[in-house]
Amino acid sequence: MISREVAWRIFAAEFNSSSYEIKGEGEKAPSFLISPLGAKINRIFVVGVLTDNENVGNENEPVWRAKITDPTGTFYLTAGQYQPEASMALAKLQPPCFVAVVGKFRTYSPEEGKLYVSIRPERIGKVEAAIRDNWVLETCKASSDRISAMEEAMKLGEPDADKLMQIGFSLPLAEGAALSVKHYHPENLTRYHAMVVDALKFLLPEYQTGPDMSADAAVPEEIEIAEEDDVDKEALVLAMIESLDSGRGAAWDEVVKKSKEQGIEREELDTIANSLLDKGFVYEPVLGRMRKI
């Protein structure tokens, strides 16, 4: 009996930081991606905002590339001819909208020591905002369970799944945490703790003050840690886009003009706009116009 692989709930920030793949040996043995918090992933379940959706193949052989954002970052999806149902579903979807995806992980390694991960969707469908919120909560719970297992595993000199199970963790959590500690040797989990806290704040109206709710501690691409100042400017530009929007999106020229009045130069504005696009706070309904999501 081959049992179906479970669908892990995992945020983009954690998923994209995964660099440890265990390839299945033999014909039907599944491969796994071990995440930094010890999710032993074969399949994942994700709900977020579809921000980009493009056929990079041709009409006869479509290959769909899509981006889905969650409160912590962006998932990258690719669906080709072997994912006919997902491809068909993607062909019908118009960003932005909330979507749910069930799929398997894929890896791409352009050079030794570098591993990029993406999702090969099996099912994708449009959903309502409530389902996204529900997913964020569920994923916060799942991530914080993994953090607990990791913290125990890090206390053990020699991380060992059996010992973790004796403490009371389930087999998949214990196994994954032991593997993760051996591979990633984390010193602390502060970053992921912050990721969960920020994702929770995303759900709570009292914290929803603008884009600064996406604290950068949670973003995996740590190279560009935004300064406090930048975050404020992002909030400012976002508010601007919202106020200039009369239904069809804010005209980009207007945004440029307004920004200049606020002391934000064109070059800086481009960076801010790109960041907002990446985080899924705004999108371009047509060229030259921007709207808040």
Partner: protein, 438 residues
């Protein structure tokens, strides 16, 4: 082969033969076999033992192993173990009944389930330490099982062994909730309410016998039970059962009250509210393999082929393919509506089947409407597509029966509703926990 090399083999033959022959005679025989007849050492040893009237199977042919190192592929293996449990059982083999013994053995490295297939040959006593020779192993559910067949021999030794990893559900007694009952649990204590009870007459090994069967319920689930002894029970009794054992059928655990079981009738209401409220994780369900009545929660991650409007055979209710039943051939089919879906809660997944009424409730379309829509749209997959659209990624709470077959556990749903979480309240609660932790 010189004398020195031969010595341990002579020793071994002598040990097996005991009083039957002395070492000198064995040594002489051994030389004859090896130098004159030039047979292999193995054959020589077996022949000598046989000639002197001993049991050649008692020769140490297999390799000595510890429980931990068993792989499930050993054809002949020797073990020094402590007998943890001994359970006689009668099974049907090719129409005839046969007595076997099963239980658990252990050593310093772990425990392993065993079966004795020849009960005349081998008798095991609970608590004794034994040297088992020529046993073989098979893999079952991913773990090795030790088999004592017609070649196996057992020697009782005086050595004392400390056993590690003896599961508490197999030795001694243990208080369990109904949802925790699992195959092979041996002396379990369980409390619940008898919600149904009936007397049955059965024929066991040619004898007519009256037994009681019924259903016991607590707040984690329900289980079918059978009383084989003389215990008195009444419907609606709240009871504490001590010393029952569990056997599973198609993954569904069943409670058995044998002669050793004792029933204490409790005061009415002493078990509190017995409404099924405890939600099981799908990992727990997978581990148990089945449940008579259980409550789970998860996300619908797939609506499978075979969902929607289907045709069934009017005689046997099998689903038709191209209006043909694989038993009754071409028949006039009967319409039916169902959903086969996969539920996933992040710990594991489960196949769930929703019959007509639940399908109607979930997709908001009656069967008559479904037939009409399908005909109008000329799309036989219309209802499946509707179900996909309505159900994909939705969270549900579902109650039903779970049993296992070759494809793993499967639930037949009895009751279902969509789960609407108060995300803000739950989120705020978790945030307080996490920040308090900092």
């Amino acid at each position: 082969m010189d004398k020195e090399e031969l010595a341990p083999h002579v020793e071994e033959v002598a040990r097996v033969l005991g009083e039957k022959a002395d070492k000198e005679a064995i040594e002489k025989e051994m030389e004859t076999y090896l130098t004159l007849y030039r047979v292999s050492l193995e054959t020589a040893k077996r022949s000598i033992v046989k000639n002197f009237g001993g049991d050649p199977n008692a020769l140490q042919k297999g390799t000595r192993k510890t429980v931990e190192t068993l792989t499930g592929t050993e054809q002949s293996v020797d073990l020094m173990v402590k007998v943890l449990t001994v359970n006689p059982k009668s099974i049907e083999v090719g129409g005839a009944s046969k007595n076997i013994v099963y239980g658990l053995l252990g050593d310093e490295t772990g425990t392993v389930p065993y079966t004795v297939w020849e009960t005349d040959r081998v008798q095991l006593k609970e608590g004794s330490t034994v040297l088992i020779r020529n046993a073989y192993t098979k893999e079952y559910n991913g773990s090795p099982q030790l088999n004592l067949g017609n070649r196996a021999t057992v020697e009782v030794t005086e050595e004392s062994l400390t056993v590690v990893g003896a599961p508490t559900n197999s030795v001694g007694s243990r208080e369990a909730k109904i949802s925790e009952l699992g195959e092979g649990m041996n002396y379990v204590i369980v409390s619940g309410k008898v919600v149904s009870l009936e007397e049955k007459e059965i024929t066991a090994s040619g004898e007519k016998k009256n037994i009681l069967t019924g259903v016991l319920t607590d707040d984690t689930g329900s289980v079918e039970f059978t009383v084989w002894g003389q215990t008195k029970l009444n419907k609606d009794d709240e009871v504490r059962i001590i010393g029952a054992y569990v056997k599973s059928w198609r993954g569904m655990p069943k409670l058995n009250l044998g002669d050793r079981a004792e029933v204490q009738v409790l005061d009415k209401g002493s078990l509190g509210d017995l409404t099924l409220t405890k939600v099981q994780t799908l990992e727990e369900i997978e581990r148990a393999g089945g449940a008579m009545d259980t409550l789970v929660r998860g996300t619908l991650v797939d609506v499978r082929e075979g969902s929607g409007l289907i045709m069934r055979c009017p005689d046997c209710r099998r689903v038709l393919q191209k209006s043909t039943c694989r038993v009754h051939g071409k028949v006039k089919g009967v319409d039916d509506l169902r959903i086969k879906a996969i539920l996933d809660d992040g710990t594991s997944s489960l196949n769930v089947i929703f019959a007509k009424e639940l399908t109607e409730q979930m997709i908001g379309v009656t069967m008559d409407e479904a037939i009409k829509l399908t005909t109008e749209e000329r799309n036989p997959d219309l209802i499946k597509e509707m179900a996909e659209e309505k159900l994909f990624a939705r969270s549900i709470e579902v109650r039903g029966m779970v049993r296992s077959d070759d494809y793993g556990p499967m639930m037949i749903a009895k009751d279902v509703h969509f789960v609407e979480q108060d995300v803000r309240e739950e989120g705020a609660k978790l945030l307080t926990e996490l920040e308090g932790f900092n």
